[in-house]
Each structure stands twice: as C-alpha cells, then as structure tokens.
Symmetry: C2
Subunit: 202 residues, 2 copies
C-alpha cells in the first residue's frame, strides 16, 4: 500500500489538486513510482474519508485542492520511519536489459540504442530540473534527489554506450545467442534436452 503514502508525501510538500498530483507522478516520481489518474482520484477520496487529507480549496473548473492533515503527517512519518527493507522493484526496462544477452548482436544493439535515447532524454529533463531549482531560490530540499537521479542516469548511459561499442567490435564465436531472428535459419540443436535430475548453480 504505497500509493497512499506517495500521495501523502506529495501533499506534504505542497497542497495540490488531483490533476497536479497526476502530473507530478509523471514528472518527479516517474523514476520510483507510477500511478495514473484513475488510481489517484479514488485514493484521494479514500484518504479524505480517513481524515488523512482534506479539501482546503476549490479552484477553476470544478477542481479541488487537497492538503495533508496532521493525522496524515503522522501516518506518513510512521510509514517512512518504520519501513522494512522491501527492496522488491518492478522495472520493465531493467528486465529487458537483463535479458539482452539472449539476443543476437543486431537485436541487442537496437535495444541498447533505444534505451540510450531514453536515458539521454531523462538526463536532460533532470538537468533542467536542477537548473530550475537553483534559479528560483525555492526550498531546495529536493536538490539531492535530483542529483542522485542524474548520477544514476549517467552510469546507465555510460554502460549502454559501452555495450553498443562492444556489439560493433568482437564477434565472439563462443557466445551463441539463444534467440535468433526469424530468418537466421540454422535451427540445428536438439530441441529438448533431457533433464531428469538437476542441481543448482548460481
């Protein structure tokens, strides 16, 4: 139940409408938690019901601005401080990257290049955000978080560039790809190896 705490956290930063929260999830929180508006609006209603947030104003176009209550702040702190490790992530791009060694070089390269474009774009966004935070003498508190995002994007970008370089170089004959592009033809090895018993490795 983290969506609840993500919303509380954003409202602790500043009061917002559901629409603004949706945008913040897509911008600042994109790298650690995703939620669509169809989750956010019902969640706000539930939170208001539980008195963890409250409507503190009405704006144009029927919009409601929510603010966190003291009970909400207490609950948020409790969650932040008492949290167990729970290091389980969900990251489709990461999964894809993990599986690339199964592909032959051309396919692999295509994936790396697509991801690199993506990472570079994200890096631009983050650097803009950093500049923006510096210029407006605003609260600053979240500057370190942006910095972390930039550093991680940097290492990911470097890694991707290395991998791309590696596909152009050596055609390692040892390393046989498991999944061939449909046309590649030679489908020779026995299709189903027997394996009655099995011991662990890794």
């Amino acid at each position: 139940m983290s969506l609840r705490h993500a919303v509380l956290g954003l409202l602790a930063r500043r009061p917002s409408t559901g629409y603004e929260l949706t945008q913040t999830f897509d911008r600042s929180l994109r790298a650690s938690w995703h939620a669509s508006h169809s989750q956010i609006y019902p969640e706000l209603a539930k939170l208001a019901e539980a008195d963890l947030v409250e409507v503190i104003g009405h704006g144009a176009r029927r919009s409601k601005t929510y603010g966190i209550t003291q009970a909400g702040r207490d609950e948020l702190r409790r969650w932040l401080v008492e949290g167990r490790p729970d290091r389980s992530k969900r990251d489709e791009s990461g999964l894809r990257l993990f599986l690339t060694p199964l592909l032959d070089p051309a396919d692999r390269r295509a994936i790396f290049e697509r991801d690199l474009a993506d990472v570079d774009h994200e890096l631009d966004t983050l650097k803009d955000l950093r500049t923006e935070l510096q210029d407006t003498g605003s609260p600053q508190a979240f500057a370190s978080q942006v910095e972390l995002g930039i550093r991680i994007s940097d290492v990911l970008g470097d890694w991707l560039r290395e991998q791309i370089a590696a596909t152009t170089e050596t055609h390692d004959p040892e390393r046989q790809s498991q999944i061939h592009t449909p046309d590649a033809g030679h489908r020779s090895r026995s299709p189903a190896r027997k394996r009655a018993d099995h011991k662990d490795e890794q």
Copy 2:
C-alpha cells in the same frame, strides 16, 4: 504482462523448476522484477497451456522441470525487440528516499543508514556473483549485467554516505522539516492555509 516474459527469459537461459525460478527471481532479478511463487506456478501452467514452455523432465519431490519451446523463444524475442519505452517503475525504497527531505535530520539519517546497510549487502552479493562467474568458466554472457548492478549500487552507496555526512554537519535553519517527530512539540503554524486559486510551479 511482463511476468510472462520474465519467466520465458529465465527459461531461455536454462531449464528450471518453478522452485528454482522463484529463487532466481529473488536473487538475480530482485533489482528489476519481483514475483512470488504464488504467481510463478500458475504462470507456468498458463505458459505450458499456450505451448510457450513444456515439461521436459521430472525430478525429486514431485518437481517438474520446464523448458522453453521454439514458440516461446519467438514470443520472447518479439517482446524484447518490439517493446515500447515504458519507463514506469515501482520502487518503494526509491519512493522513501525521494520523500526523506520532509523529515527532520534524525529520522532522515536513520533511513539513510538502514538503506546503506542494505545497499552494502547487495553490493557484496553482486561482487560474489561476479567472482563466481569468473571462476567457473561459465557462459559469461550476463557478466555485464552484474557489472551494471555493481556500478549503480556504488553510486547509491556514495550518495547515501554523503547524505549521512550532511545530516551531522550544518543544521540549516532555513530548511524546516514538514513532519516532526511526535514529541517535538512546537505545532504553531496555522493548520490549514487557504488556497482558492493555484498556479503551477515545477
């Protein structure tokens, strides 16, 4: 629908039982995708139903070893290559880290230290894995992925150490925490600021 492809991917690396897959999800895939056995077993059944995997052997304790079929390989490749960006992640620890600026220094520090211990532990695991891969002259293909994991853990660890150092140093009087520890007392500001209209920042 990524669980399906995560399972296919692992079976493309080597045939495994459901139990082994569960362990691999917890070990190697922990950083990019999590799944529990209560998802994995039903998913294997569905995949077998669709002829994307097949039972290729029976082991001790009623265990079934699954292998990927050619249709499974084709489907896996299709997914890997045709994937859209989809950079939406889900990472509870990341979310927590993102929200730490809301806390006062003592709480913040506690979170950083807990996370640092966690990251250091993960780093050890990854370094062991790297050594293991080098020693056993095994397929090697996944060495780069391990390397990436190590690099990211490194920057995260460095960042956390910096943040911890920062909490001991300057007690910045500008930066007022939003969420105080229950005892801290001084709860003075007006509880609900009015906010009828609202313009965007960020």
